[in-house]
């Protein structure tokens, strides 16, 4: 047994209590979808996990109507303080059920358990905790006194961080006083449906959050629904473009978080050990299924050979395999379609003259896998230097001067993120100033925090998620002269108040848990 061989250490699936099939979560209850149900599978083994309801146009109508009712009758009238307390409850419930959520996420998505356990799910809880505190402090969000919520938010999220993207969407929307209809990605609905059970345990009023599953047509029906006031989408630039066209001429507000082709710039004075780890984290984290991945390595010419050699050594130690194994570094590619796209673009790279090197790892028999891969000798015009591959594939390019690095980094229609590695602080700040990207990581990469705004320039979309800026995406200023008196804002809720007695929430949460175990159709206590 060499030092690279580890005994299997799989995380137990016993913590999951999955149902055989899941319906749509509308108005606080699970209901059957009227479209044709579909299977969700584990991309690591292709085993079937559960049948998932499929929302058709009528189901979308129901979900939007439920969200509207909840907005008009309950959520928009509730005090910020009480909205915040619901969000705090959700944050705590996510923490309590964190291992279960992590296992479900790795099972359904294919990402390593060490990532879902240590990154995704803790950030989900942090996101709800952060925005919970904002709910009664909206006067300080930067839009003047008494900002208005927008109404019903339609949210469509991708498959790469299923639960984390849900949190990025739902937490600020609810804190600002909006209600939500969210559609998870077709291949990764599981964690969102477990999250729906958490909402039942939290006794969130029915209709405040509705989760409808389905494919692209469900998402299209949702964002174009006339009962929707706000659209928030994370996904491909092509779909983002289509959404921007769909909502043209309407009063809908929109935020789009789209693709990227981030440059990770390594200068010759960079702290090389950290840089190698940062490059690996930048592109091989989550199998490269990351919109802000550092997929273009721009390395200063004089250290190119050293960096590439060390990268190959490092990649050779990564363990690819069972996502539920605690030792796994590289999990499964999320779907057959995505695997085919990665293979296709990778072959294009070879055809266009780049040199391909893949880490020597054993590929499991079943499931969708792609070994960590580096391309050297890549031309700036090559498709693998221009198009988002969304997989564990790194394109290496070189530069001589900082000006050249900046020009090459900005030579893309995208502008989501970038990395800078150098020990020279003044150079970091000067380069950061000139990079046209929304998130710049200096001597680090792929860091996320609920207090830190995230989003792109140019064709990577518009609007920000995270931080005060992410809250503003769900608010509008109150027109001058219409601001309500401070006193009314600070007054207790006029709507049904949250149960505030110490014992009450615990009691209702326990009863909700019992119900969700025995009779999953009905959730709320009231």
């Amino acid at each position: 047994m060499s030092f690279l061989e580890y005994a299997p250490a799989p995380e137990s699936r016993a913590i999951l209590s999955l149902r055989g099939d899941y319906g749509l979560f509308i108005d606080g209850e699970f209901v059957d979808g009227r479209g044709t149900p579909f299977q969700t599978i584990s991309p690591a083994s292709e085993e079937k996990i559960a049948m998932i309801g499929n929302a058709n146009a009528a189901d979308v109508d129901d979900a939007v109507a439920a969200a509207r009712r909840a907005y008009d009758r309950t959520w928009s009238k509730m005090s910020g303080r009480d909205r915040g307390k619901y969000l705090f409850r959700i944050a705590r419930l996510v923490q309590e059920r964190s291992r279960e959520l992590a296992v479900a996420e790795s099972l359904d998505n294919g990402k390593p358990i060490k990532e879902s356990r240590d990154v995704d799910v803790p950030l989900v809880a942090a996101w709800f905790f952060y925005y919970a505190g904002w709910a009664d402090k909206l006067d300080h969000a930067g839009l003047g006194a008494d900002p208005r919520s927008l109404g019903v938010a339609a949210q469509v999220i991708p498959w790469n961080f299923p639960l984390l993207m849900l949190a990025w969407k739902i937490a600020p929307a609810l804190a600002a006083g909006n209600t939500v209809v969210l559609k998870p990605a077709e291949t990764t609905p599981l964690s969102a449906l477990i999250f729906a059970e958490i909402l039942q345990q939290a006794d969130l009023p029915p209709g405040v959050v509705n989760i409808i599953t389905g494919a692209g047509d469900t998402g299209a029906a949702l964002v174009s629904h006339e009962g929707v006031d706000k659209v928030a989408f994370t996904g491909s630039t092509a779909v983002g473009r289509a959404i921007a066209k769909q909502i043209a001429g309407t009063d809908k507000k929109v935020t789009l978080e789209l693709g990227g082709k981030a440059a990770n710039i390594v200068f010759d004075d960079a702290p090389i050990d950290q840089a190698i780890e940062g490059i690996v984290n930048g592109i091989f984290f989550n199998q490269g299924h990351v919109c802000c991945a550092g997929s273009r390595l721009l390395v200063q010419e004089n250290i190119h050979d050293e960096v590439v050699e060390r990268l190959k050594l490092r990649l050779s130690t990564l363990r690819l395999g069972d996502p539920l194994d605690k030792n796994t570094d590289i999990g499964a590619i999320n779907s057959k379609e995505q695997l085919e796209r990665i293979r296709e673009l990778s072959d294009v790279g070879v055809a266009e003259g780049a040199e391909r090197w893949s880490a020597p790892c054993v590929i499991p028999e079943n499931g969708f896998w792609y070994a960590p891969t580096i391309f050297t000798n890549v031309q700036t015009s090559s498709r693998i230097a221009r198009e988002e591959i969304f997989g564990p594939v790194l394109s290496v390019l070189t530069f001589r001067t900082p000006a050249e690095a900046i020009a090459k980094a900005n030579n893309t229609p995208y502008g989501l993120s970038a990395g800078i590695w150098t020990d020279k602080g003044s150079r970091i700040l000067a380069v950061a100033d000139q990079l046209r990207a929304g998130v710049i990581w200096a001597n680090t990469f792929n860091r996320f925090d609920p207090s830190s705004p995230f989003g792109g320039y140019k064709e990577s979309g518009y609007g920000r998620e995270g931080g005060r800026h992410g809250l503003a995406a769900y608010l509008a200023p109150t027109p001058i002269g219409q601001a309500a008196s401070r006193q009314r804002v600070a007054a207790p809720a006029t709507a049904k108040p949250i149960e505030t007695a110490d014992a009450a929430p615990k009691r209702s949460r326990r009863s909700a848990q019992r119900r969700s175990a025995s009779a999953p159709k009905k959730g709320t206590a009231k």
Partner: protein, 286 residues
């Protein structure tokens, strides 16, 4: 004996120069009571593209200037405009057919709006940006940066104030603009370009097109080197098609406004054409 007046030739303003339309086209600008005042240039698609090239060239220096410097230049515009107050009042009186007092009020408000926006240049980043208390050993700060080249369809029912209200906020953050003036009242916009040209505004930062917004705006909305489009004055156009065109390159879009409060001064008009950049840096004693 009365003196024979010397009329002015009104042309476009592109890249710091005053060219005629490359198309050779002009159109008649009439006074409110139907008299001929001047021929204005009728800008073409190529003029629009030239203006965008000039704006792209102008944006690097303007965005890279210090906020203090941008504030001084914008304040200088107010100073020079104040000195030409009488000219603009007369122009507006004739074009819009309003009283001297009404025209004067429009000019005064336009001057004051430049002053207001000038003052924001070195402050809005402090209001729109902030440090972020992330959970880890990182310095993390979010700052607004200019979006880039902003195309603007200026309010159509105003000679000067609407025009100023639309371009000033885009300039504050460091954007360059290509602006289509009011079709009916284009002359004050070109006279203002003369003010801009003598107020230390770098060439290419403001580019003014006159002519038919319905003809020019689609080229601006679909041009891949325009980052954002302000449709504030496009309410009478097929602006939904413009928004759809703009979606192809995911331009930031501000929708039309109408009435006397169109493009009213607001911090939101500055931040609409900014991008929030968040920079993370590791902290360590080693």
């Amino acid at each position: 004996m009365t003196r024979l007046a010397v009329p002015k030739t009104y042309k476009l303003y592109i890249g710091g120069s005053f060219p005629r339309s490359e198309s050779g086209r002009t159109y008649e600008v009439m006074s409110a009571d139907g008299r001929f005042i001047a021929n204005a240039a009728k800008a073409s698609r190529k003029d629009a593209r030239d203006a965008i090239v000039a704006a792209r060239g102008g944006v690097t220096g303007w965005a890279g200037a210090t906020a203090y410097n941008r504030g001084q230049v914008l304040y200088r515009i107010a100073e020079v405009l104040e000195g030409r107050r009488a000219q603009f009042i007369a122009e507006i009186e004739e074009a819009e057919g309003v009283s001297r007092a009404v025209a004067a009020a429009q000019v005064d408000e336009a001057i004051d709006r430049w002053v207001w926006y000038a003052g924001w240049a070195d402050k809005f980043a402090q209001v729109a940006g902030n440090a972020n208390p992330v959970a880890g050993p990182y310095f993390n700060i979010s700052v607004p940066e200019p979006t880039g080249v902003v195309a603007i369809v200026a309010p159509q029912d105003s000679s000067l104030l609407g025009f100023v209200s639309a371009i000033a906020p885009a300039l504050v953050a460091g954007n360059s603009v290509v602006v289509v003036a009011s079709e009916r009242f284009p002359l004050s916009a070109i006279s203002l370009a003369e003010v801009l040209a003598t107020s230390d505004v770098p060439k290419g930062v403001v580019n003014v097109l006159t002519g038919s917004p319905a003809e020019i705006a689609p080229w601006l909305a679909s041009h891949a080197d325009v980052n954002a489009i302000d449709l504030v004055g496009a309410g009478e156009l097929d602006w939904i098609s413009l928004e759809i065109d703009a979606a192809d390159t995911l331009k930031r879009v501000l929708r039309p406004e109408s009435g006397p409060d169109a493009a009213a001064p607001a911090l939101g008009r500055i931040s609409a054409f900014t991008e929030t950049k968040t920079v993370w840096h590791t902290k360590s004693l080693r």
